[in-house]
Symmetry: C2
């Protein structure tokens, strides 16, 4: 059986929702970040990166959200979560997920995880200060260019949707008014109505 | 015919090498970053992100290196650059490429592109100062955990190899002595001997 290591309010919600959408047989294992459980020797033995999500399969572990999402889609083809046989459509989906991990999540991380990139306290404050601006820039691009509607890729619900949901859940805490991004806000509201999201959030 | 927009010394080298390895029919179009050609209205019309690489296909453009790399592999199956039909092996490959884009490239970008995340000059200096440390941490993980040898995924050359080559080319400029990472250095040297890399570097 699959096991997913996750933490509350982390990007792991995207992988949890994808597992639920796929109807996967899995166990969710919570790590308590407040107690730095992601840095225990036990967990570092599972995932040397000391992060979540990490998906344990019978062949080994998979880390990085875009990789986990495609794995879940590819191993549960009946759920139709990714257009694996259409190289261009698949690339569009991968491009969206790549933007989430390389740009949007990184912009967000400068609020609470600035120590990854600077030691100086004033620098950490300068990073925090810019987060509302960088997140708003990212969501402008998402609103106007990337989110086709009603789902990220258009009519078809895909693994991009849980990823956008995870990241758009951070807007208020990052100092961005989601009312400025009505298509994103509508997407978030429709995601919250899905049984998969309700099950993942109730863990 | 495919067109790849690239800039010298950018991560686009990974996509160029993959296109060469695939034997793809493509045209390479250089953008001059010194003259901010990536921000002209013409180029923003092609790629609203104002970045490289961007791959123009007959169906539209693809951005984000991990997406482009898989697209090139999937549309040129004879080159054997990605294990598309083995979900776990594909996930391992995607996980590596995800780490490159979300963590290693981001660590590197704090040297010259700190303005993405802070406006204050002192903060930019604090970010620059930490780059040798963060890049060395990333390459410790690559050296000890991720690079299986002789290629990233083991015996099979995949689209992970051009990506590692692109990123490991930055080590010296980022203040990291590659001698501390002998497997990475050996990989880089073997990449430089490949005809694909020589053709991409000669553009």
């Amino acid at each position: 059986m699959l096991k997913l290591y996750y933490a509350k309010a982390s990007v792991a919600i995207a992988s949890l929702v994808a597992l639920e959408e796929a109807g996967a047989d899995y166990e969710a294992i919570e790590l308590d970040f407040a107690n730095r459980q992601q840095r225990t020797p036990e967990y570092l033995g599972v995932n040397p990166k000391g992060r979540v999500p990490a998906l344990v399969t019978d062949r080994g572990i998979i880390t990085e959200t875009p990789a986990i999402l495609v794995y879940v889609a590819q191993t549960h083809p009946d759920a139709g979560l990714a257009p694996m046989d259409d190289a261009y459509a698949f690339a569009q989906m991968q491009s969206f997920n790549g933007y989430m991990c390389s740009t949007v999540h990184v912009a967000h991380a400068h609020k609470m995880r600035g120590r990854r990139w600077a030691d100086d306290e004033a620098a950490l404050e300068a990073m925090k200060k810019k987060v509302p601006e960088t997140m708003a820039e990212c969501f402008s691009l998402i609103e106007t260019e990337l989110l086709r509607g009603p789902w990220v890729m258009g009519e078809q619900f895909t693994i991009c949707d849980p990823y956008l949901f995870a990241v758009s859940s951070w807007l208020e805490a990052d100092g961005v008014d989601p009312a400025g991004f009505p298509a994103v806000l509508d997407h978030r509201n429709r995601m919250r109505e899905r049984a998969s999201v309700q099950r993942a959030l109730s863990l």
